[in-house]
């Protein structure tokens, strides 16, 4: 029976102690601790949100970088292509020009060779003419060296004239 009979003294002390505990703990422990926990969880939430935002930014930055890189690559390709084309054109031009020049030179050379040859031929002709005269003179001198020969010639010429 003692087991289930409440005693006044213990009830009294329990009451006082529990009420004091409740006041002290509620004011100095539960409230500050829970508010700290709440503040911390808010901080963590914010940090997570920030991280997510930063991640998104990084992603967009990366995309931007990618885009710029792509553009740069395209530009490089275009420049290279242009340069190649320009180079090719230059070579082509140079080739054309050299061809023309060569042709011109050949033409000029041909002309020069032609004129040289003509000159040489003319010169040669003149030389041959003079040689012919010299030879003819020599021959004439020879053939007219004696009277008989002069006579023979004159007769021959006379014959020729007769024929005509």
């Amino acid at each position: 029976m003692d087991l289930v009979t409440p005693s006044f003294g213990l009830l009294f002390w329990t009451g006082i102690t529990f009420c004091l505990l409740l006041l002290i703990l509620a004011k100095f422990v539960w409230k500050p601790v829970l508010s700290a926990v709440n503040a911390r969880s808010q901080k963590i939430d914010e940090a997570l949100l920030e991280a997510e935002k930063a991640r998104q930014e990084m992603k967009s930055l990366h995309a931007e970088n990618e885009r710029i890189l792509k553009e740069a690559r395209a530009e490089r390709d275009a420049i290279l292509k242009e340069a190649k084309e320009a180079g090719a054109k230059m070579i082509e031009d140079a080739r054309d020009k050299s061809k023309v020049e060569g042709a011109k030179l050949i033409e000029a050379a041909k002309a020069a060779i032609g004129s040289e040859r003509n000159a040489a031929i003319a010169d040669m002709k003149a030389q041959i003419a003079s040689f012919s005269v010299d030879i003819a003179e020599a021959i004439v001198k020879e053939s007219l060296a004696s009277d008989e020969k002069q006579k023979a010639l004159a007769s021959k010429m006379v014959e020729d004239i007769k024929l005509n």
Partner: protein
């Protein structure tokens, strides 16, 4: 609840075993197992440490009584007073008449009576003498102070950590305590008391939880400063249940009272039956809380003591090979029960308060 059922069965079983053993050996001055266990489970004006009777060592606690003014003296003057035997047909007993400052008072079954002509006057086995109001710092009161001191030190150092470091991750004692506090809020208070109103009751529920937990655990330590069966004392559980009752009744809203005095959906002709049932229901809920905590903790103490008593009943240390492992097993189980009962009391209190503040959903 099956665990507590098992505990109860075990306690009944061990009691029966003990009774069977004690009934068998009735020679010389035998070991009275019931008296020994009851002595340990009940409150006392001394804190017995070791030894027997006058050769034993005890902490004599202050007796504070109100009898035409407050009187304070050491309980040594009662325990070392005159022992007066009382012949009784069922079981003879004795009471102690105080000396010195305790003159005029007698101690019987840890209750203080005023003596008339230096002795108690019995009516059957109960004295007819008047009892002064006893505010003594008994074993349980001292245990209550020690438990509260431990609770305050632990909790205030936890609080101090946050005060010093701000809202950071917990370390040290705060690392252990914070999850418990958050657990009580998130798993006990929030699910039972809906809406923003729950913040009003966090203080009460959390204090109840930790008060019961610390004192339950302290009671499981077999030596001073532990071992007092504080949470297994009906006065303590009565006070805690009374708090829950008062909080419930005073926070009850219109909806709560409407459910008691005009339960929706019940024909008006049935109301004369329903109203008394509902009114009784207000009290049975905290009453169940009171009995549950008291019975569980007391049962745990009784089982452990019964198992240890097997050694003394049989007067053979060899029985320790059986009783010590069993007592160890029950002690470990009691640690679980300490947490479980703290959780149950807090959880059910939150449930009752939650029902009282719930808004009408119909």
């Amino acid at each position: 609840m099956s665990r507590t059922t098992i505990l109860r069965f075990l306690s009944i079983f061990t009691f029966l075993v003990c009774v069977a053993f004690t009934a068998g050996a009735t020679k010389e001055k035998k070991f009275d197992v019931t008296e020994t266990i009851m002595h340990h489970v009940l409150d006392a004006h001394e804190w017995h440490l070791w030894g027997e009777g006058h050769n034993g060592t005890s902490i004599y606690l202050p007796v504070i009584i109100y009898d035409n003014g407050i009187k304070i003296f050491s309980s040594r003057h009662l325990y070392h007073g005159n022992s007066v035997p009382v012949a009784d047909s069922i079981k003879p007993f004795e009471y102690l008449v105080g000396e010195g400052p305790a003159k005029g008072y007698a101690l019987l079954h840890e209750k203080i009576y005023k003596v008339t002509d230096g002795k108690l006057v019995f009516h059957g086995t109960h004295p007819k003498n008047a009892m002064p109001l006893d505010f003594s710092i008994t074993k349980n009161v001292l245990s209550l102070f020690i438990g509260s001191f431990i609770l305050l030190v632990v909790m205030l150092s936890t609080s101090l950590y946050y005060k010093k470091n701000g809202a950071v991750a917990p370390r040290g004692i705060a690392k252990f305590i914070e999850p418990l506090i958050v657990y009580v809020r998130d798993e006990i208070v929030k699910p039972n008391i809906h809406g923003a109103k729950h913040t009003r009751y966090i203080g009460f529920i959390t204090t109840v939880f930790f008060f019961i937990l610390v004192n339950n655990l302290l009671g499981m330590i077999p030596v001073f400063p532990g071992g007092a069966n504080l949470t297994g004392n009906i006065s303590v559980t009565l006070f805690l249940a009374l708090c829950t009752l008062l909080v419930t009744v005073f926070s009850g809203n219109k909806n709560y009272w409407k459910h008691i005095f005009a339960t929706p959906g019940v024909p008006w002709a049935l109301l004369p039956i329903m109203i008394p049932i509902e009114l009784v229901g207000i009290f049975t809920k905290p009453f169940a809380l009171m009995i549950r905590l008291f019975a569980n903790m007391t049962a745990g103490h009784i089982i452990v003591l019964s198992l240890i008593s097997i050694i003394f009943i049989n007067k053979s240390e060899a029985w320790g090979l059986l009783s010590v492992p069993m007592a160890l097993f029950i002690s470990v189980l009691e640690i679980l029960v300490a947490f479980l009962q703290a959780y149950l009391f807090a959880s059910l209190s939150a449930l009752f308060i939650g029902a009282a503040v719930e808004e009408d959903h119909h």
